[in-house]
Symmetry: C2
Subunit: 143 residues, 2 copies
């Protein structure tokens, strides 16, 4: 059974170009997990949408910025826990809040620069695909 991986994001991407680029990366990850994106309107709805049994990862500027290799190892661990979906939470313009960060199993940052959340979603899916490539030793990643 393929693991489930969900990106929960506040706000609509409203950009078919970026949406398609993002979906392309997800497709190429299918050997490792079934990836989905779900958009919600508010942070309150995002919180309600996180399954109780999920491994929760928050994207937040206060989180740890790490290498793609380290991220790949973390992902490997998260995917190994049976029957626990892996959920990435991305806030809207106002970000996430302390309560959600406290609930998270991991808080990650994509780096010190502020990134438009639509780009954060694209970068995250690229990092997920890169992580799969690292774990499988495929030539995509030559970091």
């Amino acid at each position: 059974v393929a693991r489930e991986l969900l990106i929960l994001a506040v706000g609509r991407l409203k950009d078919p170009l970026l949406e398609r680029a993002s979906a392309d990366y997800f497709k190429r990850c299918r050997g490792r997990f079934a990836g989905k994106v779900r958009e919600v309107k508010t942070l309150a709805r995002l919180k309600a949408a996180v399954p109780g049994d999920a491994t929760l990862v928050c994207l937040d500027p206060r989180g740890r910025a790490e290498s793609s290799e380290r991220f790949a190892r973390r992902l490997e661990t998260w995917l190994q826990i049976p029957s626990r979906p892996v959920v990435f939470a991305i806030g809207g313009a106002d970000g996430l809040d302390q309560e959600l960060r406290d609930r998270a199993h991991h808080v990650m940052s994509l780096g010190p620069m502020t990134l438009a959340h639509r780009l954060a979603r694209l970068v995250l899916t690229e990092q997920l695909y890169r992580a799969v490539s690292i774990l499988e030793g495929s030539p995509y990643h030559r970091g």
Copy 2:
């Protein structure tokens, strides 16, 4: 006279979606600078294409990863030097080399994660637009 800002990149983007997203950000910067992208086939050609009088900024994992605000201040300084084009160099899969990094006025990193260079170009143009927004106090950046 508008300042000239050039992104010199090794390799073709080959992705009309990302190209368009990137061009959109550049268009919105026109009040501050005229942005152009030039793709070259090899690192040798990239080196030859850097104008002798340019302010050269290299994108490299060994560079400094800084906040968008700091980047905006740097950009402001670079754009203030009259008659000096600002040139950002982005390597292909093999990156840049020591000689070019030594020639650079600044070496910057987008963060500790390895990013596909096609995404690095998109993220860079978004950061340039964000920098312009920061310098102009526009609401785009609420970092």
